[in-house]
Symmetry: C2
Subunit: 186 residues, 2 copies
């Protein structure tokens, strides 16, 4: 077999930057291929199902990052809760490039992305909320309030990324991450 020019992981990482900025319809296969370092036709070798399978692959890779670096750290880490929260928030900062890059879930939350991936994204968001809920519980917060805080955290992250884009300023995101930190530890 001829060697791959780029690994599937590299490909997903590069195409993610296009997808999170332009959404499903806004990202053409030409742009995605160019960003990934391949020609358009080559994408059909990697993703025989076409655009939908390609985006699903990027979405799975994105969720996988969250699961490994955020959800599992929060919910299954063996360090103290405070340390786990610090680590998870650091990874969140990295994922969103300190607020400069969109959340892929949001970018896909317009039609037709929502129609194709809505259920999957909803599940992933529930994972997020579950993981932060467990962290809250570990910090001695009551169940109901822990869930409420987890939900509000996700909501504020999403809102901050909208405003960061609109104002072309990462400050809303930075502030929200700091708020989440102090909400759990205050």
């Amino acid at each position: 077999m001829r060697p791959q020019k780029v690994t599937e992981h590299q490909l997903a990482e590069r195409m993610l930057e296009v997808l999170r900025a332009k959404g499903y319809d806004g990202s053409s296969l030409n742009e995605l291929a160019l960003a990934g370092g391949l020609k358009k036709a080559s994408l059909y070798h990697r993703f025989p199902g076409g655009k939908q399978e390609l985006v699903k692959s990027v979405l799975d890779s994105y969720t996988s990052y969250l699961e490994q670096n955020v959800f599992e750290v929060l919910a299954k880490g063996k360090a103290k809760p405070k340390k786990r929260l610090k680590k998870a928030l650091g990874k969140i900062r990295t994922l969103y490039h300190e607020g400069a890059s969109n959340c892929l879930y949001r970018a896909l939350s317009l039609d037709p992305g929502l129609e194709l991936f809505g259920e999957q994204i909803a599940m992933n968001c529930k994972q997020w909320i579950k993981a932060f809920s467990i962290l809250g519980r570990d910090l001695g917060i009551k169940k109901k309030r822990a869930k409420r805080m987890a939900f509000e955290g996700l909501l504020k992250i999403q809102g901050s990324l909208v405003l960061a884009k609109v104002f072309n300023d990462t400050q809303p995101f930075q502030e929200v991450v700091d708020e989440i930190w102090s909400d759990y530890l205050g």
Copy 2:
């Protein structure tokens, strides 16, 4: 002159529903024309500048609703602050169909909509923040905190609309509107 089939206001209102759900690239002129009750070619009579001018017209109409029913009520109304807030939040609920419909600003906050309309949307969001800030001041809240509350309100509305779409459930939006109400009056 031959009579218009639909007024510019009706046209903007109907096309808004497509644009806020699908974004700039996701909304084709065919869909927009169909939603508005015209044929595609007729749109070029109303909007000689093509798609960009059409979307700008819808955006202007959308902002005009906010200015008249929300911003002016909050900042220039002669009723008591509590009553003005109640009225403005009611209009916000209506605009977003109780959380079932996206914010157009958010739908246009991906490329290429962001590139075309980002500055205009940023100005409109600043108007939002300004208006809620003035309401806060009228309720006796200090300047800095009033601005902070206004910013956070907008952020949470945007975040709630993201989650409302993802979960296909208007509850996040409803809760956030109630929270804003009680934040100002608690």
